[in-house]
Every structure is written in structure tokens, then in C-alpha cells.
Amino acid sequence: METDILIIGAGPAGLAAAFEMASKGLDVTIVDESITMGGQLNQQTQVIPSLPSSFQSMRGFELAAHLTKQLEEYDIRYLLGHRVIGFYKDGSVGITDEQDVFAVKAKKIIVATGAAENAVAFPKWTLPGVMTIGAAQTMINRDFVQPGKEAVIVGSSDFALDAALQLSEVGVHVKGFIEKNAGILSRDLEKIEQVKKMGIPIYLDSFIKEARGMGAVEEIEIEIGTRVLTEKVDLVCVDGGRSPILDIFYQLGCSFGYQKELGGWVPQYNHQFQTDRQDIFLAGNAAGISTQGVLLVTGMLAGINVCEAVGAITKTIADEEKDFLWKELEILETKYNPNIWEARNRHMENFAHPVIKEQFLS
């Protein structure tokens, strides 16, 4: 199979990039391991704060539907329920439909693989009933399954608060937040207020000392400063933060840089969202963990840069659109957390002079 552009990942960034390119007449193929488009947005029933100016305020799954719908009029090849398993020597991508493996040759590739949730370890964290906040959210909102009755949340990010609110809505008793830092991580004052109003305690400087149970979690011990609190729970939702999914970049031989604020190791990229492999671009959480609004803008920017690179639009038009989008990205990301915006800029500056070379040949 041959295509102008292959987009790996049909989440917000991948779909936003697809729109930019398909609307300029490019031949676009999108591959995603899920059978639905929109990625993690499908589980997000919360209203997404600060979307780009061309979007109305909406919930995550509505945004997924909107992004899918705006592609309807274009002739895009969808490889849903397909996985990228590797690359061939000639640069073509090995994709499986779970029956066969076939090669896809693309002139340019946009990698929008998103992020993975990080684990949080404590004694007996492998017991059933311990899961990430994303898993709990998927169970409630996609599978309509109640993951437990009595829960605690480890972490206090925006996503952790959203998960707690959604768990409460479906009748799960949330007994507390366990935050290892001295303050709440979420910057959403409204949500914090909402959680406090519901009477959910937030334990700071605290961690799970141990989980106990036979075949499933039944009880946990929480260490809060000098005291230890025992809670009966059958659900522990952990939020260890998120990191970019890198295996495809690694296979492609891209170099990486470390930025804590962007989720740790991030592929090196320049202002064109282009990696050090000239034909490989990236977008979304894979380019640094941020908010949904920012992910969309990075997708649009990657799309426009690819259009320019293959000559589908002139430099003048591309520059005009990019100027606007970079301003929007700055506004959205600075409003959310200026440290992330600064880290992104540092990361892009490092593109020209990577900090460490050959670091992955261990």
C-alpha cells in the first residue's frame, strides 16, 4: 500500500493533522489500534477546558465526534483496529490487521501515538482492584462497568479529580485523595472546590504504605506524616502522571531529549514538529504531555508543516497559518501551565544541539 501521508494514532492530534492535510488535497491514511477514532477523548465525559478559538466548548467524547465528522467529506483511508508492529529496511511501515502483516509506504509520517500512564508501586499494587485513573475512567464511561464500590485515588492532578468526580457520579464512594506532595497538583480551582464540597478528604504528604487482600484489594494503609490510617477499599485508582509513547520513534532511530515538564523523554523536534528523521513529524502528547486544546494545535501545526514540506501549500500561506497557531498554542499552554510552555521551547531549542548523543546504545 502507498500513501502520501501516514498518521499513526487517531486521537485528537492525529485527527486534527488529518484535517489540515486532507483539506489541502493530500492522500492521507490513518492507522489506530482502536476501532474507534478520537483516542482517549472517547472516555472523557468532562467538559474540556480551553480549546482552540475555532472550537466551541464541549465534552471529550463530543470533541472526538466533531473531529471525526469534519473528516467525513474527505477520502481518507482508515486502518482502524490495526497496529504498527515495526518498520522495514526500506522505511515502509509494518502494519497488522491481526490476520496479516502488510507494508505501507508513505512519503511523510506523522507519529501521534499519545501518552501512557505511569505506574505507582507500593506493596501489593499488583492486586486486582488497583488500576490507573485512565483505566477506571474507561470502565465507567466506555464499558459502563462500575470498577468498585469503595475507592481511593492516588494523586491529585486534573485527571485524578475528574476521575473522582465521575466515579462519584456512578455511585462509587470515593474515600480520599492520597497525594505524596505537600500541595494539590491540579490547577483547576473550580474542580478542587467541587471535590472539597463533596467532602472527599485530600491527604497531603501521604502515600500508600501497603495494600492488603486475598485475590483482590480489600484494605489499604495510608501513611500521612506520622500517622497511619487504614481504609477498607476495593478500588485504588493511581495517577502516576503520563509519558509520551516512544517505541515507534525509537524504532525509527529518532533522538530524544529529557524534559520533566513534558513527561520525561520526548523525541527531539524542531519548530516544524519535525524529528531528526526528515520525513517523520510528530504531534500531540507524543511531543510532550499537555492539555487537549494544545494537542489539537500541535496536530494542526504538524499537518500544515507536512503540507508545506510536500508542496501542497506555499510557504507564505503556511507561515501565516503557523504564526496564528503558534500564538494560540502559547496562549493555551501558558494559561494551563507556563512551565510546560517553557519546557517545550527549551526542548525545541535543544534540537539544534542535542544534550547527549548515542545515549541509547546500551
Binding site: 489500534e33 497496529r83 504498527v84 508492529i85 515495526g86 518498520f87 522495514y88 509494518g94 497488522t96 491481526e98 490476520q99 496479516d100 502483516v101 502488510f102 507494508a103 501512557a116 505511569n118 505506574a119 508501586a121 507500593f122 506493596p123 499494587w125 499488583t126 504504605k209 501497603e210 502516576g240 509519558s243 516512544l246 517505541d247 515507534i248 525509537y250 524504532q251 530524544f256 531529549g257 529529557y258 520533566k260 520525561g264 523523554w265 544534550v355 547527549i356 545515549q359 541509547f360 546500551s362
Partner: protein, 109 residues
Amino acid sequence: MDKSTIICRCEEISYEEIEEVLTNGATTFDDIKRLTRCGMGPCQSKICHSLVASMIHEKTNTPYFQIPLPRMRMPLSPIKLETLATNSTSFSSVKSVMDEVELEDGKVR
């Protein structure tokens, strides 16, 4: 952290086992992997690599930007051999190798 805590859930490698190889001079995820099987299960270190990185950071005082990522190999996620051995004929694959094996009376020649 309690030393019995599992760090690699696929291969059931504990904090203590990783601590031991770090004490013996391991500095990267791949060192630890080769010595303990940490990260060699079905998830291929997707779950444990960040936990191991923080252990390396704590035990050896190495800054995170100097702790390399684990080596990631193909296939990027588990795939049935049958699927990998696709019947496509347009490019070389495991299947084409398998096609060259002739069966005779149930035996592989």
C-alpha cells in the same frame, strides 16, 4: 519502599532484586534487564521502566536525563506468529521462509 514490593509485574521482580544489581554496579535499565529479567515479560517494560528509572535515580544519584530508555524492539506489541507469518507475497516475511519448508509424511525435511 518495602523491599518485597514488586517492580516488574510481568516477571515478578522485586525492589530488593533490582536494588541488589544496582549495588553490584548496574547503571541502566538494560543492565538490570539482563541481570534480573526485569522488563522481559509481555509488557516489554512498558509498565516498569519509569519505576526502574526512579530506582536508578534514587540509588545511584544519576539525574534522570542521564538514565537512558530501555531498548525497544520489534514487534512493538505482542503479535501471533501466525499473523507475523503473513501470506503476503509482495515482500519477504517469516511466511515466505516457512513456505520453503516442505512437509512430507508429517515430517519437516
